[in-house]
């Protein structure tokens, strides 16, 4: 078992494509976390806002972040 894991690690080390993929996967995950946090902040702002125009803008921002997150999750699943 230990040997198998070690071999896999070794394979990954020499396979630059896989290494790249993993790196990107973790980067996207990182960004998704940040987007999630931003979305949460915007939702709080949305609830506190009275101006209709400003509420609409915030909502749009939330929609865009949602679409970006959806895209990111799809990309991770594909990899």
């Amino acid at each position: 078992m230990k040997q198998k894991k070690l071999l896999e690690k070794l394979k990954a080390f020499f396979d630059s494509d896989a290494r790249e993929r993993n790196k990107q996967k973790s980067d996207i995950k990182d960004i998704l976390k940040k987007l999630k946090k931003k979305e949460r902040n915007l939702k709080e702002k949305f609830d506190a806002e009275d101006d209709v125009d400003k509420r609409n803008r915030i909502q749009q921002k939330i929609d865009v972040i949602y679409a970006q997150r959806k895209k990111g999750i799809k990309l991770i699943k594909e990899q």
């Binding site: 980067d27 909502q59 679409a67």
Partner: protein, 600 residues
């Protein structure tokens, strides 16, 4: 202070003069019409500059003699040494001719301007020139109404000549009538005292009228009417020559260093010439007598003799001054030094930054942000906001309501002062970097260069937008002014949002924030164009205003797109690894359309 009271004082003196003497009024009106004719003439010749005139200038100033000849010829044709001086200054500034050639033209112009005296003395006073003036005015004004630039120019020239002649006619008439009331010749002062006093009067008259031509015409007409003595007429002519220098000095106050040097040369020439003329006045009178006798001018024809004198003393001035031209150039160049340039300079670009690829890219990036900061200030000011207001939390809509009037910003001057120097430095810096650098840094610099171009494009569109913004934002048509207020608000909001993104605590998601901005820009543009269409359709704004609005909303879109592209480019050249992943999440056109259709 002196400037402030000068004009009202002149007005009061003139008004008093008009009140007590109708003849004085006629003479003054003649001078006014004459000056107006000169303005019209200048305007006419301006229609031909930028093409033929400039081409000729470039080819005809190759040597000192050529430039001298050019000065004489052009001033003779244009009948305006000031127009020739202005064109010369523009060529000096553009670096097409050197200071020595410029001085040559100015010297020549001094001789050429004496043909004005000949025109009046030999031609103007012998025939009833008003007879020529009238048809010239009629044809000229008819041509001014033509659309063709050339015909329009000819129209101004003809009308200008017409007014010149008409002005001369009025001055002549005025002096003739004046003669009956007061005998000016009774005030003739003999000897050097009179010479100096009349030189002073000549200087004063030229300064007041801002034209040596007009003074000379005045002298000749007064001389023809025997209001002044011949000697005093000569002194007045000397004064007129010196006085025109003051006009040039006043004119050069706003000119660049080249203009100041040229005005300096003009002043030296005229002072020296004037000094020589006063010192050797008796010899000059003798020479004039000899020349006059040779060409067949009557002994008592003082008007023509004055024209001869004017030409000779300028000719002597040229002969005396020519050997000293190079010395003069050197002296002027050391005296009028290029001042510390007021243009804002680059802060981060220096030779040490060029040593390493990374530091060079970072220096350019920092400088680009410096440029962006300056650009934002110009754009914000143009739409009536300060940069601190954009960066604050204050309600922009509220600010807009309280500030309907927009203070005018000279975008062109601000561009020259705060953008051009830095932009040029960035471009020069990038062109210096070594080609053997890694591809990555070269690509970064390529993108940063493009980002800089985006800023410059945004400023240019701001300049175009400003024109109608200033006019229409205060329009009585509420619909039009409302749309322009929207343009202001739209742009102010974008500037604030971009600043927010720039200072976002998490740098990793900056590019992604641009997606929403792009959607908003597209929506706002569509909304505004629909609103404009509706305003035109319902007749709330005339189609002309409507098209202005359409053009200006296009400028607005251009500014916004350039600023967004700037940001996208700037962030690409930063944090390479994370942006790769970040870019994967940027929404494409279809995804953006999907969000827009949902929100609608």
């Amino acid at each position: 202070m002196f400037k402030k009271i000068l004009l009202p004082s002149i007005f009061i003196i003139l008004a008093y003069g008009f009140w007590i003497s109708p003849d004085f009024k006629q003479i003054s009106a003649g001078v006014a019409i004459f000056l107006f004719g000169m303005l019209s003439l200048e305007q006419g010749f301006r229609a031909f500059t930028g093409g033929a005139l400039e081409k000729i200038l470039r080819h005809t100033t190759g040597s000192l003699w050529k430039s001298l000849g050019f000065g004489v010829m052009s001033t003779t044709i244009l009948q305006s040494s000031s127009l020739v001086s202005v064109i010369t200054i523009s060529f000096l500034s553009a670096g097409l001719i050197g200071l020595a050639a410029g001085i040559g033209i100015i010297f020549g112009a001094n001789l050429g301007t004496t043909t004005g005296a000949w025109l009046v003395a030999g031609f103007g006073l012998k025939v009833k020139i008003s007879a020529y003036a009238m048809p010239m005015l009629v044809f000229g004004v008819l041509l001014i109404f033509q659309k063709s630039k050339a015909l329009n120019g000819i129209g101004y020239i003809l009308a200008g000549l017409g007014f010149l002649f008409l002005g001369i006619h009025y001055m002549k008439e005025g002096f003739e009538a004046f003669k009956d009331t007061i005998d000016l010749s009774a005030f003739a002062i003999p000897g050097y005292r009179g010479l100096f006093i009349y030189t002073g009067i000549g200087i004063f008259a030229t300064v007041v009228m801002q034209s040596s031509h007009a003074t000379l015409v005045l002298i000749i007409t007064a001389l023809a009417a025997q209001q002044i003595s011949y000697e005093n007429g000569l002194a007045l002519a000397i004064g007129a020559n010196v006085g025109t220098t003051i006009t040039a000095i006043i004119g050069s106050l706003s000119a660049n260093i080249q203009g100041k040097r040229l005005a300096g040369a003009h002043m030296i020439f005229n002072l020296v010439t004037g000094f020589i003329a006063i010192l050797f006045i008796h010899q000059f009178v003798q020479i004039v007598d000899v020349v006059s006798a040779y060409v067949g001018i009557d002994d008592d024809d003082y008007t023509l003799k004055l024209a001869v004198f004017h030409t000779i003393f300028n000719l002597v001035g040229i002969i005396v001054m020519i050997p000293f031209i190079n010395m003069m150039v050197r002296w002027l160049e050391t005296t009028f030094k290029e001042k510390e340039s007021p243009v804002e300079q680059a802060n981060f670009l220096n030779d040490s930054a060029l040593e390493f690829a990374d530091t060079a890219v970072e220096a350019v990036r920092m400088e680009t942000l410096h440029l962006y900061d300056n650009a934002i200030e110009i754009i914000a000011n143009t739409i009536g906001f300060s940069k601190s207001e954009i960066n604050s939390d204050s309600d922009l809509k509220q600010l807009l309501i309280t500030r309907k009037k927009i203070p005018e910003v000279d975008v062109e001057a601000r561009y020259d002062k705060n953008i051009k120097g830095i932009y040029s430095a960035i471009i020069a810096f990038i062109s210096q970097v070594r080609f053997n650098w890694q591809l990555e840094q070269s690509a970064d610099l390529h993108w940063l260069r493009r980002a800089n171009r985006n800023i410059v494009e945004a400023i240019k569109s701001t300049k175009h937008l400003q024109k109608n913004l200033l006019t229409f934002s205060q329009s009585y048509n509420q619909h039009a002014s409302g749309e322009y207020q929207n343009i202001r608000l739209n742009l102010a909001i974008l500037l604030r949002e971009l600043e927010d993104i720039r200072h976002e605590p998490d740098p990793d998601i900056k590019i992604l924030s641009m997606d929403e901005i792009k959607i908003t820009i597209g929506e706002a543009d569509e909304k505004q164009n629909n609103a404009i269409d509706e305003l035109i359709r319902s007749g709330k704004v005339v189609p002309e205003t409507g098209t202005s609005l359409i053009n200006d909303s296009a400028y607005l879109l251009d500014i916004k797109s350039n600023l967004v592209q700037f940001f996208e480019t700037l962030f690409v050249a930063q944090e390479r690894e994370i942006t790769k992943a970040e870019r994967k999440l940027v929404l494409d056109d279809d995804e953006i359309t999907e969000i827009r259709s949902v929100s609608e």
